[in-house]
Amino acid sequence: MSVMERPEVVESAAVSPAQEPQKREVLLDLANVSLSFGGVKAINNISFDIQRGEVRAIIGPNGAGKTSMLNVINGFYQPQEGQITFKGERRTQMKPHLAVSQGIARTFQNVALFKGMSTLDNIMTGRSTRMRQNMFWQLLYYGPAQREEIAHRKRVEEIIDFLEIAHIRHTPVGKLPYGLQKRVELARALAMEPELLLLDEPMAGMNLEEKEDMSRFIIDVNEQLGTTIALIEHDMGVVMDLSDRVVVLDYGRKIADGPPDEVQANQEVIDAYLGVSH
């Protein structure tokens, strides 16, 4: 069975001299994870890992279970089976807000911004878990609460500059075009200063120029900030350019795992994308 053979490919890729040594530490490890909704097996006994510092692409046809995979990683869904190890620690119960405080942030397939708030406020919500001043100081505002607000504002302004969205700082996000909304969402995730950033189709619905911008930002985040990235993307060109390793899902199963060029040449992957029956 080919699913069983794939991990060997990973092994050989990992020990190949081309692989940089600092990418060897495993940040997140999933072992035999399964998730089902009623009768639907969204994730079927999947194992793979994400190494610190890499861009890990997750690809597959529609309904393959990619988004479900991210939802399991950030604790939005509890898998019925399998083990998840993050930063060397076996995970038991997980909630999304705990995942955030452990260093996992994400963006969404359908933009999930706070429509009634400005760009700045949206990004500031990403700092929520780091803000400490209690209700009493918040009521007074001037003093500790304001100092904290300014300190976080400075970090947020750095991200705003980094993603080149200074001009829309005070604009309500509901009024922004789709491409910019996606960028604000990335900014909000970066404001959480994650170690692992989960991006669910960050370029869906974008034109070529916007895609190029977004690709550049993802590379910058990975290289300059050193953030590990798990990326779901349908555009194969983008996946080939950006990712270090690719895992391919189909009908909730893992059908391939390895470097982009290898995965692209894999017959089972080609079949899955062309819709050949199994």
């Binding site: 939005f76 706070f114 406020d121 929520s128 001043q133 300014i150 909000r188």
Partner: protein, 358 residues
């Protein structure tokens, strides 16, 4: 021309985050505060205090409390009056059990009781949303009024079943009861409303405001950016009920002087809800604008026939009044569904660029 922003540059995050990024806003507020603190007390009549200024401020405060919950945190409540009642009865019991307690302390403490009750009734919001939550708050409304009626301990076993505010003083100055001067009561209400408004502006522009708005706009996403939904929702219930409770206590202690349980029934809840909606959900200023429209306008309209020399009997006047105010409400909502606060924001924007269009 007056709202000119040229020459005003922001050089620090403090100034960008300031309450009044534009100097003219501060001036306008200064004028309003001067009128409220100095001009009205000097010139206003007893009637103006009792029928206009004090009610407008108390209703504004109640609407502000509701707005925290519904406008900022997105949790619709139809039970505001019940929580006002909790504040009023708590203040009544505090001042009878501890006769020595300072009335202002009792007033501010009574909000803590309504906050606790608010959190208890807010617990369902962790499981249910929208329409169903509104029904749950409506149930709390019925339950509380029933409690005010049946639990005789609450009204000290008075034969009338009503609570009556006795004469109390604040360091020698009589502030409650029939002998209190309206201007004194006005000042107390004004100071407390100013203080709470300042605190609510601070809360809503900082961390809590963002938590609440995030929950309102998309609770799932809020959870996924690390916001603890339970804490965000319950804090909104607590703060909202606190403010509403203090408003309820002031309603009885500084305005009506006495209250029966049915004062805190559904009509009051809806009146406060109207003020919040017409003023603008998610706005602090809007509550004051809404209260002026809904509380003060009907009083002022009573004078119109006299001013233009027409004789109308009072029953007819009442009907005409209801119709005019109703039409105005519908008109405002059609013109600006986001309320008077948004209307003011648009006018302000026009003033900033006036007289140059664009």
């Amino acid at each position: 021309m007056f709202y000119r922003v040229s020459g005003q540059f922001k050089t620090s995050y403090e100034s960008d985050m300031a309450l009044f990024p534009i100097r003219q806003d501060a001036v306008l507020l200064g004028v309003i505060l001067l009128a409220m603190y100095v001009v009205f007390p000097l010139f206003a009549s007893e009637f103006t205090f009792k029928a206009l200024l004090v009610p407008v401020m108390i209703y504004s405060l109640a609407a502000m409390g509701l707005n925290i919950l519904t406008g900022f945190a997105g949790q619709l409540s139809l039970g505001t009056a019940g929580f006002m009642g909790v504040g009023a009865y708590a203040c009544y019991k505090l001042t009878t059990i501890f006769p020595e307690m300072n009335v202002v302390v009792a007033l501010l403490l009574s909000g803590c009781f309504s906050a606790m009750v608010g959190v208890a009734f807010g617990l369902p919001s962790l499981r249910i949303k929208g329409f169903y939550l509104a029904i749950a708050t409506l149930a709390s409304q019925f339950f509380l009024v029933w409690l005010f009626e049946k639990w005789a301990w609450l009204y000290n076993y008075n034969a009338s079943g009503a609570i009556e505010v006795r004469t109390m003083d604040f360091f020698g100055l009589v502030v409650t009861g029939p002998t209190a001067a309206p201007v004194t009561q006005y000042y107390f209400v004004l100071v407390i409303v100013s203080l709470i408004t300042f605190c609510m502006i601070n809360l809503t522009r900082g961390r809590y405001g963002r938590l609440w708005k995030a929950v309102r706009d998309m609770d799932i996403a809020a959870e996924l950016v690390g916001i603890n939904l339970m804490r965000a929702k319950l804090s909104a219930f607590a703060v909202s009920s606190y403010v509403v409770g203090v408003a309820g206590a002031m309603l009885v202690f500084f305005w009506k002087g006495a209250a029966e349980p049915n004062l805190f029934d559904i009509p009051l809840s809806f009146q406060v809800l109207f003020i919040a909606i017409i003023g603008g959900l998610g706005s602090i200023l809007g509550n004051f604008l809404g209260a002026i429209l809904i509380v003060a306008l009907p009083v002022l309209l009573n004078f119109v026939p006299g001013l233009i020399g027409v004789e109308v009997n009072s029953a007819t006047l009442e009907h005409v009044n209801v119709m005019v105010v109703g039409a105005l409400i519908v008109g405002f909502l059609i013109a600006e569904p986001h309320g008077l606060a948004r209307l003011w924001a648009l006018i302000r924007e026009k003033l900033i660029i006036w007289p140059f269009p664009h």
